[in-house]
Structures are given as structure tokens and as C-alpha cells.
Assembly symmetry: C2
DNA sequence: TTGACGCGTACCCATATGGGTATATGATGA
DNA sequence: TCATCATATACCCATATGGGTACGCGTCAA
């Protein structure tokens, strides 16, 4: 069954380093494929494929402009990832040495409810 | 060349829904593999494999306890993901309709420097 | 020492993935 | 209409991935 389709999951879409680079590049504004490919140091078809994945999960948009197709960022989906990881914030804030104690406190508090 | 090794990249490690579930489950405290497998509704070897990936990227730790091996969360690496996505915050906060204007403003401000 | 647990690994398999090259498609300008 | 530029697709390939099953290994109790 392999992994869930990349094209349907934002987490999977940003699992690719190149795609993350593309998103970062697009923060500076919309860009045509060729330019992105150049900045990534990869052939155009490769960039196009990555952009397709990003488009299908909704992380980028495109609009035609003459012969070109300009891609732009649509970061809304990234918010979900940000919030999901945010759900672990108290765990990385806790000193790891104290984590055990911390968990025991929670457990105990729960039993006392 | 396929994708970068899952075992070396946190983004890749959390691209798997099951692995994300495991992390969530571990927020409640350390657990043995069998229990996790049960809660995930998957055979133990499968859970072990996912746990191995999580361990190799440093998202979980394990300690032996008699016949069991207890896994616990180490969310520190998730912070990187949280911060990376956080770098896009201003983009999902901006109304998308206004994004163009926003970018132009930035561009103009830059030229005026 | 033996048997039962709890777990990690080895294998095998179907499939998704990313890269590369060639080529189809679309739009523009002469 | 034709040549050209900008992109997307179609293929082909090597490889990583996740799932399932069988099994090896260490630990504990009797």
C-alpha cells in the first residue's frame, strides 16, 4: 500500500526538501517555473512536477501571464501543520529530564479528579 | 533517487499519518509497542517499524522495562517544523485577495531603501 | 532449563516517488 | 501559418516505502 498519496496530504507535500525550497522562494513573490527551476538548480520538468504536487494540495496557485505561468504562494494549508506541531509545544518546552515528573504529575492530577 | 531517506528528516518522518498518531498517543505518556499497535489497529511489527523511524529522527525515546520496551515522546525536533511553518504566518494571515498588494508594498519599500 | 511473552528484524510484494529525457501543448510574434 | 519560447506530460528507471508473515532473541517465571 505504500505511503499515502503525496498529492492529498500537506504533510507529505512538504516532506520533500525541494518543495520546501520552492515555498520559501515564493515568499518573495510569484515566479515562473523556469526561474524556480534555475534557482533550485534542477531541470524545468522536475520543478514542474513539484509545483504540480504543491498545487494539488493547495499550497501554490498559478495564473497565466502571456507565455508564462506564474506561481504564487498560498500558505493557508501550512497553518494546519503549524498548529499540529504547536500541540506539542509544552513537550519541547519542558526540560526533558523533568518530563517524567511532569507526566506523573498529570497522571496524579487526573486520578484526583 | 527517490525521496530523501525518511530516517534522516523530521518532515519526512511525520509525513506518515500513523506516525503522527503515535506521537499524539505518546503525549499521554510512555507506552509499550503492543499497546500502541493495538490503539493504532495495526500488527505489532508495523508499529515497531514506525517507531524505529521515529526513534532514528529523534522524535521518540525508548527504555527497557523488564520484558517490555517503553517508548516516550521527545518533541524537540517538532519545534523545527513548527518554526519553519511559522515563517509563513504572515502569508496565511494576509487576506489572499490582498496578497498582491501586500507584495507590491514590500517591493516598493525595498526599492525605496 | 523450559515455556511464554514482548519486541525487533528479515523477507517478500505492490506501489509511490523523484529524476532524466523526449515530446506534446499553448501562446506569441513575424 | 510557421518558428519559437514556456510549460506540462509521458515514459522509463532505480529505489524507498509500508504492509504482512515468519521467526530470532532477550527476559521472566516456574
Amino acid at each position: 500500500m505504500a505511503r499515502a498519496a503525496t498529492t492529498s496530504d500537506v504533510f507529505n507535500a512538504i516532506a520533500e526538501p525541494r518543495r520546501r525550497e520552492i515555498l520559501v522562494l515564493l515568499r518573495a513573490g510569484e515566479r515562473p517555473v523556469t526561474e524556480l527551476a534555475q534557482e533550485l538548480g534542477m531541470p524545468q520538468p522536475g520543478a514542474s512536477k513539484h509545483l504540480r504536487v504543491l498545487r494539488e494540495v493547495g499550497l501554490v496557485r498559478d495564473r497565466k501571464s502571456g507565455k508564462q505561468r506564474l506561481y504564487s504562494l498560498d500558505a493557508r494549508e501550512l497553518r494546519a501543520v503549524h498548529e499540529w506541531t504547536g500541540g506539542f509545544e509544552r513537550f519541547w518546552n519542558e526540560s526533558f529530564d523533568r518530563l517524567d515528573t511532569y507526566l506523573q504529575d498529570i497522571k496524579q492530577a487526573k486520578q484526583e479528579e
